[in-house]
């Protein structure tokens, strides 16, 4: 599904050393990312990790303190409407005007978006069985979420941003919502989706790109398959020291006789440590995410400076010319 970006066309989303400070606290710092066109990217992190801050800067609702966002080549220097036209946005808790009917909401969409697709909006409501005359305050939470998603899709923007779209929904509504997102992405291969969540299980089947954000910093970003391939779950005797483990330790738990460690590694280093009593398993999506979420966001406390640098380097797909660029 991920298109080859060799043609030089800009990626769907690129952020460059993006940061936002609230007073003296950084909500997000030094965030450099790239999401290719057509990807379905999961933005995972605990509450307060800076997910909403990042998404609001992507849409243009929030001005970065430093750095740049570029959505299909449109940066914060482009006209505001050019940027807005490229992003469909479903905000947290699906805000809609309570006293509007569904038809009124679509009228608003048509009035405020030049590429509005009224046919798509109405057809979706018909399929979902949501009457157009119903007032927003009479809709269930799941239906509101669907109306929000429909408004974002009918805007016909190439990038769809969903901020915690299912966290307030019951399990059935979650499933239905995710199914609709998947169907929309399948129907339009040019559509790039960025979906934030702290619920990991829903994202696994959906996403082919993964971004892990903790403590206002990107810990990991890239194609899900590559990231899974680059990590191993090692089971080693308890006495094994951290230094003996091949690669960067993301998370280690010790039990009575064994230790299990999720490490970022490569086949060569892995092969070099093929020792008796050692076992290396591939990791699941959930294991990978959980290991990074449990890792202290300021990894300097336990890890050495070099390891920290490695982690930062992996978080940046682009050139890591940190010192030179200043």
């Amino acid at each position: 599904m991920i298109k080859d970006d060799a043609g030089g066309s800009p990626p769907a989303l690129r952020t460059d050393r993006l940061g936002r400070r609230y007073g003296r606290v950084w909500g997000l710092r030094d965030c450099t990312l790239e999401v290719p066109t057509g990807a379905i990217a999961a933005l995972v992190g605990p509450n307060g990790a800076g997910k909403t801050t990042l998404l609001e800067m992507i849409i243009g609702l929030l001005q970065p303190t430093e750095g740049q966002v570029s959505v299909l080549g449109e940066t914060s220097h482009s006209p505001m409407t050019a940027r807005l036209a490229r992003v469909g946005y479903v905000a947290q808790d699906h805000p809609l005007y309570r006293d509007f009917s569904v038809a009124d909401m679509f009228h608003l969409g048509r009035a405020m978006n030049p590429r509005w697709d009224q046919g798509l909006a109405q057809a979706r409501m018909e399929t979902l069985g949501i009457p157009l005359k119903r007032r927003v305050k009479g809709l269930s939470g799941g239906q509101r979420a669907q109306v929000s998603l429909t408004m974002a899709l009918a805007k016909r923007a190439p990038l769809l941003v969903l901020d915690e779209p299912v966290s307030s929904l019951d399990p059935v509504a979650r499933l239905e919502f995710m199914r609709e997102v998947m169907a929309a992405a399948a129907a339009d291969s040019g559509l790039t989706v960025l979906i934030s969540s702290h619920v990991v299980s829903e994202l696994e089947r959906l996403c082919d790109w993964l971004i892990i954000l903790t403590g206002g910093q990107v810990q990991l970003a890239g194609p899900t398959d590559n990231l899974l391939a680059a990590h191993r779950l090692l089971t080693v005797p308890r006495a094994t020291s951290d230094a003996e483990l091949p690669g960067l330790i993301i998370h280690r738990t010790d039990s009575d006789r064994h230790s299990s460690a999720l490490v970022r590694t490569d086949p060569v280093r892995l092969a070099a440590t093929d020792r008796p009593g050692w076992q290396a398993d591939s990791v699941s999506f959930e294991q990978l995410v959980m290991a990074y979420l449990q890792r202290p966001s300021n990894a300097t406390a336990q890890n050495s400076a070099t390891q920290d640098d490695t982690a930062r380097a992996t978080a940046r797909p682009g050139p890591t010319t940190k010192a030179v660029s200043r």
Binding site: L61, Q63, M80, T81, L84, A85, P95, L96, K155
Partner: protein, 303 residues
Amino acid sequence: MIWVSWRQHRGQAIACLGLLAVLAIYAVVLGDSMRTAFGQDGLITCLARSQGTGCPDAITTFTNRFGSEVNVAFWSVTLIVPGLIGVLVGAPLIARELEYGTWRLAWSQTVSRARWLTVKLGLVTGGLVVFGAAMTALITWYRAPMDRLTGRFLPNIYDFEGLVLTAYILCAFGFAVLAGLLLRRSIPAMVAAFVPWLAIRLVVEFLFRPHFEAPLTYTQVCPQNSPCFGGEGLGFLPPVTGHIGDWVLGQGGGLGANQVGNTWLYQPADRFWTFQSIEAGIFVLLTAAALGATIWLLHRRAA
């Protein structure tokens, strides 16, 4: 965008129309009997003859019958109503979007928030101007017979005829829009806008309005060995100057050594529109400052 603004403020527009309708019914019912009485009491001929000085008793009878609403309670209500209308319309304009999170929806459509705000402010301000003008016209029509006896310069009348009523409403509206952006909640924004509005409104009325232009002096010469009749006090009708519509501010400086009588400071009736323009100008400027600050702040919050 125009449709969106209309749809969001439709309820307020209907409420304002309802208020106008109630006021109109009241004005027609009471105005009718007032007009009948005005024709019957021989006031017209008396006024035409003597500028009101010839028939103080008839004037007193008439104003006692129809002017009873000019008391403290009525004055208090009429003082705060324009401010209430302004803050009720203005405070939710931005604050409601922030309270309910709908700003994320409104500002992520393909319309810059500067345009979003400008169109909304333009339409709502226009609506309030129309509403203020209609209310002024209605009150002026209703009071027309009374105004021929009292003029339009006395405080409780001046506030409802001409330009100032609309300007008061706009000013409260502008303050409330700005407060809504700063406080992010409707009800606190209403309070935060209303209090300074009322303070400015009272300061302008009592401290500045009497001195928009230098008052004139009128010397009342009393006959020897007899008291001065015909309006010694403030607010008397007809006024001591003998000209209906003059606004007597108070007693002025001393008299010559051998003169018996009083000197009075007053603003002549023909300054009404000048004063209206000055006072309306003050409040319109305050409105513009508040709305300008709102647009600038919203634009700056995130370009």
